[in-house]
Symmetry: D3
Subunit: 325 residues, 6 copies
């Protein structure tokens, strides 16, 4: 365990919430990771998007709308900053127009974070950024188990001949042997063909469509998913904000009606307690399409906070997310 | 059955979803109905509106936000374009300022569509357009059974002495003997007087207010409604988007809080499988009041797709929507 | 009982809903309270806000979006204007920049309303206005029981040394002995520390967080709350609109994801039937952050209408909200 | 002259501008016109619109955004409320869906106002309302001279066979002999055909397109116009807000780029000093399309104030707008 | 000259402007270019953007907001559809994520259009699409003269090592010898260094910054520019919408304050009469950032119309835009 | 002069403009002022506002929309970061609800900045923050000359008895003898009474209303103003964003139509070259009312940059803004 540096968010009882520089949860912006347990890192790339662009503005908006987060999570019953040193690491210098170079840049930035034993809270950008993130996860942890919350399968082979997009990363990740067990949750919307449903079967993916959520509820769905994932193996969560219904998260590039509520979303993450969560990304927040009060970015900020809380709670219970720590 | 012309939406793997001319579901714009089974047709009239105008912009917005629809409905398990030739027929040339002349124009356009044996997906416009649509339905099918999803009763006698508005069409339709059995679902909001509740009783209308949905769920409500409607009789659905809660469908002229979710709405339509659905209208989408990401139009586009899927599934099971086909 | 003056909203069948001066529910604007049972009164103060300002625009927006309200509540089965003379009293002349002087102005305006035996429907403004409202309630009724719907506790001691803010009013009210039994419902979001949960215990507050709503439903939660409050004692409801989820009520100053639906909110109020409701405030509607269709203000307008309906229903059943009436 | 009742707007130093009921310029809402010189009256009809609807919301929005108006116009150097008793008369009960009945209702309401010797500030609604307004003007004053500020000619014969729309009122007014001399100012945008330019010549209309404004400036244009209009004859101004560029007035139904600035617009009206201005309408403000800060409604509120100032200044100089006064 | 096919926009006196499928100026969507003189073609690529993405939505929005265009331009005094057969050709199937493949696709689509002797009205997308357009222009016409309206120079060598972006296309075009004489107009905003001003001098570019517009006016600036360009040589105009001030055109990716008005913009294009205009692009319209009334798209639609009018006027005067026609 | 630390904004050719933490002009966030010449400092207080609140969000929005600023100002011909070390100092910890305590906090923060010889770029918040800023200016420089750009006089004695608001700070500053010569520029909108015009005369204020700008242009107006201010005396500029027309700067609390363009605004500041500018504030940017593309914040960011450029240019010419430097 790193020593406690007692890093705290700006005190809202001193500096009102709307004041001072915008960082995630009003934590310090810090590039020195000595003793840092968890780091928020933005990956504002959106050239992998097949419909509405705008996810490049995600990290800035999530930071701005994380100003309301306070330090005690009463539903998880944990004070994450008492357990962890957490900072905002800033963004990866992504390369608009080039997925390949962006992927290199992500590796270049995320690699040392992971090597340092710091757990990343990764803020997209579009879903294509998950592939380079998983490459680094694989390098450090070996194949990671994955829970993929999304309204889309994201396992198509190519769009317009492009192999690296926000709709193909999962197939690439499987081809590159980056993953252990995979679960997909919240899938809905029209598909290309009935064959789409065969892919999960062929790849031993635990599939829980949105219909399972509506029929059985979050706890049952998460139980089905988590039963297939050993708790002590490294688990990565990739969360596409479009798994949430547009009423609760309208600001996204390929919205699908009929999704999760905001409470459902938080509950999904809370159910991960006890599992060795080594990283999470939340992607596809496209702020130009958000409500006047920025409700989507607000939700994303809260989902990161729930994940951070689960990580802290786990650590408090002796479940460490990293080797050697 | 018409022969298969194998009409398909533009391929999103060739032309990205945000490219090319805006038609419903990226289907061809086509006025020649030879062998066409289903046609999307807009009726952008909004002079029947009693509060916020803007529904005249509905068809354009629903088209624009139908770009994400893909060809396989996994929850209904059907590929509608494999069963049906579907096109976008464009709009009726409505006459702003005159309901009477608009009603004539609707008859003039919709009549030949129905006579051709083509099932219409009718996009309003305000709810007053349902009356001329029902007149043509009556002419072709005889009195049709009607399920009316709405937060309002729409059976008042007149507004300011006007007999043809979005709040009076149902009384006119009853007076004109256009209808068989009628069900109303989702009614809520304050009413004019307790006598309003007497009208459904007097007219043998199956009434399921929103309270029934919240207490018993979609399946129970739909079962109650459908039990009263013989499956082999022609069924018309008139869907006022304001039956959905403003959180999910804010862009409408007379919004009422406390409504259906987007998933509820889709489920309502999916429950129609097995019933001889001869047409549907979705009305009262008022795009000037929509969220930045156009979530209401997106939902309407999906509800049409669910109806199309039900129609296709029915046809696959030998339930044909039209006489002689 | 005052004699019936038969005050009615403007008739929408004569003056369309979008016409004429904007008052609550299209009721008369009236400062003479002779025989007036219920009065809508705005308190547009927002200097007590700790994050986004804008609640000063609340009363104007709630009035504008109350145009759709009709005179019969079918779920409560009551015609409030048949029971009550109701008017829009206008706003308190609040003093931007001074809570103290605003509190005096509120007392100066609200006092005579209460002394007249008129029940107030109080529209904020931020939550700090509840303190002076409760002072007048205390003066007239003695300590009132309070149900506080909110996502926040609002019992902190001070913000930046300021003792009178939208987050401290409840502590002040307790210190000033204004209250009988207190219940808090809908609390959620991150908190400052675990000690926050001790305060309700120390003050014998019935606490029902949002988790209770999601687990047990509105009826069970309200039953728990109301069981602790004698029905014949004066009950005041303070409703922070942020208890509702931002999907249904985005326009508020300190939004928290994961809240009530609009139907839940209406149901909470309907459950108050049979309790001696002597006043209600709905606060923290911040219109600059509302959806294009003003859904938050629309919801607030409806919640006031539900409260009015409960009051009328109670009166019809002999439960009078005021001494001597 | 009526006796002075010393009617004043609400004092912003007592009631902050954002408080209290929304009326034009925070003047009293009053239907008794005894001694009233000027009355703001809304005509929220928008069924005459050929493109975007929404002008029915104009009067409510103009009222709400007139809260900033103060009582001294320093550029005209006049205190209008020291000269005039001014009130907000509310709206005409227009009839959605029927121009004919709306025209009757306008006559029914406006007639007595004019007969009372009260000058109307008429707030649309779409431009079709000008025709019934001019009928009453003609009845009271005889044919009035007209300055028509607009980006469109509005003299087409019919749209879709409809003779009474926002694009045909001027031809009808000419056919009905309601007008004396006519000037048109600000015309721009593409036209139907070169013949459109023949109509003004055939009808002796003083035509100043927007090109004249851009080349010669407001003073020169207004001088050209006013030279053709005897100062002592009754003059009516019909102001379509779309004569202003969408940058300054985006909220309108048929916007045309390349228009006046807001200062130009105010200057146009100020140049009317010395002319016997007997009424003005400002039409086509369509609030659903306005900027977040409602800049179009704000401009319209100010243009009415400039007209009121000119009327007051004229009166101060002995130029009375009405017979017998 | 092609024979006249008498292609006309949909008649607004039959089909109201808000009805029917959305194409540029309500012209037919047509891929057969036989006898077609001018074609609107969209190039919705936005991966070359360095700040806000969203220009991929440009063509759809420009089409939707071109519904108000009528067939006679009174300021140019021309009826373009009487001279030309004009159609909407749809969009190039661009490839998100790959400039190289998109450039190929543009060549593949634009080449045959130019070879057919059809003048393109090219709607971006971001400014990177101008490079492949110029390549085809060069292939057909030889080096073309270029007037580049923009607030940015766009001649930087690379961004983040990327050579093909919306800020580098002009340097690439010069390196590839695609251009004859070049003029830049409207440049403003902060620059990278004083050396930026040396580049135009080194490349014999006629530079007219925005300061020249504000000091001397549109006519003088355009005269300076056009004096350096022989009228009989092919001239291409590349118009970045951000040359217009954000007040008039807010929806763009890299806005700079202090720009042209909408009237200035139209005047710039009208001044091109007499010059052999062989094509125009209008780029960088980013609809997610537009005003509620879509004023930026509306302006772009009008600027295309002005260019079309100039082309038609030229043709009427014997100035043909293409060799051999 | 401080030694050069060569502080530069983040390089946009390395980190794309939309990436990384949001600070003014992408400069470092820094609280150590050693060798710092200029510091951006936010004062996000908005309780002094008399109409629309929201200016508390100003500094965050101005920072976010300053991402496009590049390092060379070609119209002033200066590279400010080559002359100056500039940083973002963050915000003053203002106290919502208390002007007095906020004023103390401003003094507490701004005092050491000034004592350090650092020139502040002060970002409001509402205009009331100018008073404490001027107090510190007075303490360090003696009475400063003031140019006050605004559409309002701001010299009223009190609002609702409150002496410290955004409309009274100038009278307080005069009473407290903080000022030397005062000029007011851009005043417009209706006033309270003709006496308002007497105040400038009585206090020897150079008054240039907006009419002077429209009649004579920026250069003439600024020449009139600057002729009365000795160039070598310390000059403070207080810029209320509402002096700009709402078309260019809609996001403000008390907008007045008929104002400056964005180019005019920049030109006003550029005319200050040669004058010893010791500080500037830009106030009243209220982001909740901004356009979708945040054009008002963008303008404010640019106006600060113009002021910074003028300061750097002056320094390059030996005009130092501070004593002893």
């Amino acid at each position: 365990m790193p020593s406690r540096r007692d890093i705290r968010p700006l005190d809202a009882l001193v500096s009102p919430r709307f004041t001072q520089i915008s960082t995630y949860a009003r934590l310090p912006y810090e590039r020195d990771l000595t003793d840092i347990d968890v780091a928020f890192v933005g990956m504002p790339f959106d050239d992998g998007t097949t419909f509405r662009s705008g996810a490049r503005m995600g990290p800035a908006a999530v930071r701005e709308n994380s100003r309301l987060l306070r330090p005690y999570n009463m539903f998880v019953d944990v004070e994450p900053y008492a357990t962890f040193n957490v900072v905002d690491y800033g963004d990866v210098d992504i390369i608009p127009g080039s997925f390949d170079r962006t992927a290199e840049s992500i590796s270049h930035t995320l690699g040392p974070i992971l090597d340092n034993g710091t757990i990343p809270l990764i803020c997209g950008g579009d879903h294509s950024i998950t592939l380079p993130a998983l490459r680094e996860m694989r390098r450090v942890h070996g194949p990671v188990n994955l829970i993929h919350f999304d309204s889309h399968f994201d396992f198509w082979d190519a769009y317009w001949g492009q192999k690296y997009t926000h709709g193909t990363w999962l197939r690439r990740a499987l081809e590159e042997n980056l993953l252990g067990h995979v679960a997909q949750a919240g899938i809905r919307g029209p598909q290309f063909s009935p064959e789409d449903l065969q892919f999960p079967r062929d790849h031993n993916i635990t599939l829980q469509t949105i219909a399972e959520f509506h029929m059985h509820g979050v706890k049952a769905v998460m139980s089905t998913i988590l039963d297939a994932i050993p708790a002590n193996e490294p688990l990565y969560v990739s969360w596409d904000i479009d798994v949430v219904d547009p009423a609760f998260a309208m600001a996204t590039g390929t919205p699908e009606v009929g999704g999760l509520t905001s409470w459902d979303a938080m509950e999904c993450i809370r159910q991960l307690q006890g599992h060795r969560l080594v990283g999470i990304d939340i992607v596809e927040v496209a702020p130009p399409y958000d409500a006047p009060g920025a409700t989507t970015s607000l939700l994303a900020a809260n989902l990161f906070y729930e994940a951070l809380s689960v990580m802290a709670k786990n650590t408090d219970h002796g479940i460490h997310a990293f080797r050697g720590r």
